[in-house]
Amino acid sequence: MNEGLYLEGMSLLDFARGPALRWAVIIFVIGIVWRLTALLLASRKQLEPTKGSATSGGIKTLLTRSAPAHELEKNIVFQHYSGYAWHIGMFVVLLFFAPHMLFFKDILGFGWPTLPNLFITFFSVVTVGILLVLLARRLMNPVLRQISTLDDYISWLIAFLPFLTGLMAFTHITFGMRYETVLALHFLSVCLLLVWFPFGKLMHAIFIWPSRYKVGAAFARRGVRA
């Protein structure tokens, strides 16, 4: 367990893929379990009379909210599908780049087939492009700007940095830094993501399904379409 973690002669890369990652994982796990436990144990007294099935309403909302609501479609269709696109790009790069798969294989104990680097490069560039467009849109659209909080910008940056540093390492465009330094920055950007994840808007990755269900269930109980 201690191999690769000797303080003597530890480089930035050793630190990033050793102690930094280890602490980030611990904070990530504590944060996720903390927030999930607190959410699941939260009590909500039912004050209204039941007018519909909560379960079917909840499940229905899981599906209906996965596509833009018809009434709002015109306004949010770009945001909705660009959101899908960059999330798909992110998962492809995260799971099907061979070194990434090996990172997960080390944790999970099993691996899976990976994609040639050409595809990974394509998905990375597209993802980075969409992220930049979405940020520009957030900054330029007056309504979006009004409803954006600091958390939105921090979460954007934290999701963007692993792509930026990953692409820099992959393409060796290092702005004068050593390749190993950029690789270390890539690891550190992932550590930062893990630390921020449970406490900011990135937590939507975990909360999205239970919260959609809960909203749908609560609405259905009152006989309202979610």
Binding site: G9, R22, I107
Partner: protein, 354 residues
């Protein structure tokens, strides 16, 4: 061999033809990334160079570096260039032994004070362990300091001399250090590797003979000409990495087809050395070509960077137990938060009723 002889004299005495010599100079110039127009300048400089006095001090080492340089094959032009220096002290190679060998070393040091090249292989034990490695009753630390004082430059041959190497590996039982950690007032060229590529050491010596200066070095003190690019970038298996074709084990179809060894722990992407271009044994092969991933032996502390067979991207994320403890702590915090929230809720409801 008299030190007054030029390198050219020595080469001719060994029967090296002009053509053979020029071929070597062209190869050397190309290794040093010099333009073709410099070949004749390299030839002239090397031919006329007076054989510099070289003192080779072996410290905490396995003699692998010496083996690498001398045992490869006989006699190549590179080997003769190596012979062409005036190797005044090397206790493995010289005929003299005991006090006579020590006297020869001191005589050479006095005669060439300020001008000799000091080659070191092996690390140096320090502090309370200084006495753990001695020659003729002198600690290696004291020998290094004494020899370094009169040296024109120092070449640390091998990873042990350059960065401490295997003796420095955790838990570093002798508090071993590399030369650059102990000598700070001299020009030091690190030629790491376990062992280093023989052609690299002759290339560094050729550079010194040609220009009388030390070559351009990278941040780790290694000559850029040989350590400027990483193994991965120069690897002939690189196209397979790009295509996502990997050997999964050492004897599967992928291994037989010569696919990339990244999944088997190859450290090529973070290792800087000339193996992929210069190769070993007269350009016959090199570790990756023979089917084994790069160990990263020319990098500092390579012995402590985890298993040689662990993929580079597999990090040290912790273990199931630590994650379990983290989850338990998270659950406890969640329970406390929920209890606190329910208490507040209850209190609010009671206040509302009242």
């Amino acid at each position: 061999m008299a030190a007054s002889k030029t390198v050219g004299d020595v080469l001719r005495a060994h029967g090296v033809s002009r053509r053979g010599f020029m071929k070597f100079c062209a190869a050397t110039a190309s290794m040093m990334a010099l333009p073709p127009s410099m070949v004749s300048a390299v030839a002239a400089a090397i031919e006329k160079a007076r054989r510099p006095s070289v003192i080779w001090l072996p410290f905490q080492e396995c003699t692998g570096c010496t083996e690498s340089l001398t045992r490869s094959h006989t006699p190549t032009v590179e080997g003769l260039i190596f012979d062409a220096i005036s190797l005044d002290y090397h206790h493995t190679l010289q005929a003299a032994a005991g006090q006579r060998a020590e006297d020869a070393m001191h005589q050479a040091m006095e005669e060439n004070y300020g001008n000799y090249l000091l080659l070191v292989d092996g690390s140096i034990p320090t502090e309370e362990y200084e006495s753990h490695s001695c020659t003729n009753g002198h600690s290696h630390l004291s020998m290094l300091k004494e020899a370094a004082a009169g040296a024109a430059a120092i070449v640390s041959v091998g990873t042990c001399a350059a960065y401490g190497g295997i003796p420095k590996a955790n838990p570093n039982p002798t508090k071993a250090r590399g030369v650059q950690d102990l000598i700070t007032d001299k020009a030091i060229i690190n030629v790491p590797g376990c062992p280093p590529v023989p052609t690299v050491i002759t290339g560094v010596l050729a550079h010194y003979l040609t220009f009388g200066t030390i070559p351009e070095l990278d941040p780790l003190g290694r000559p850029m000409a040989f350590f400027g690019q990483n193994i991965h970038d120069r690897c002939y298996r690189r196209p397979f990495y790009e295509r996502g074709q990997f050997a999964e084990t050492f004897d599967d179809e992928g291994a037989k087809k010569g696919y990339c060894l990244y999944k088997l722990g190859c450290k090529g992407p973070v290792t800087y050395n000339a193996c992929a271009t210069l190769k070993w044994n007269e350009g016959t092969s090199w570790p990756v070509q023979s089917g084994h991933g790069c160990l990263g032996c020319s990098e500092p502390d390579f012995w402590d960077k985890g298993s040689f067979y662990r993929p580079l991207s597999a990090a040290y994320w912790g273990d199931a137990k630590t994650v379990g403890i983290g989850a338990a702590a998270g659950a406890a915090a969640g329970l406390a938060a929920a209890a606190l929230a329910r208490g507040k809720q209850k209190k609010a409801q009671q206040e509302e009723k009242a």
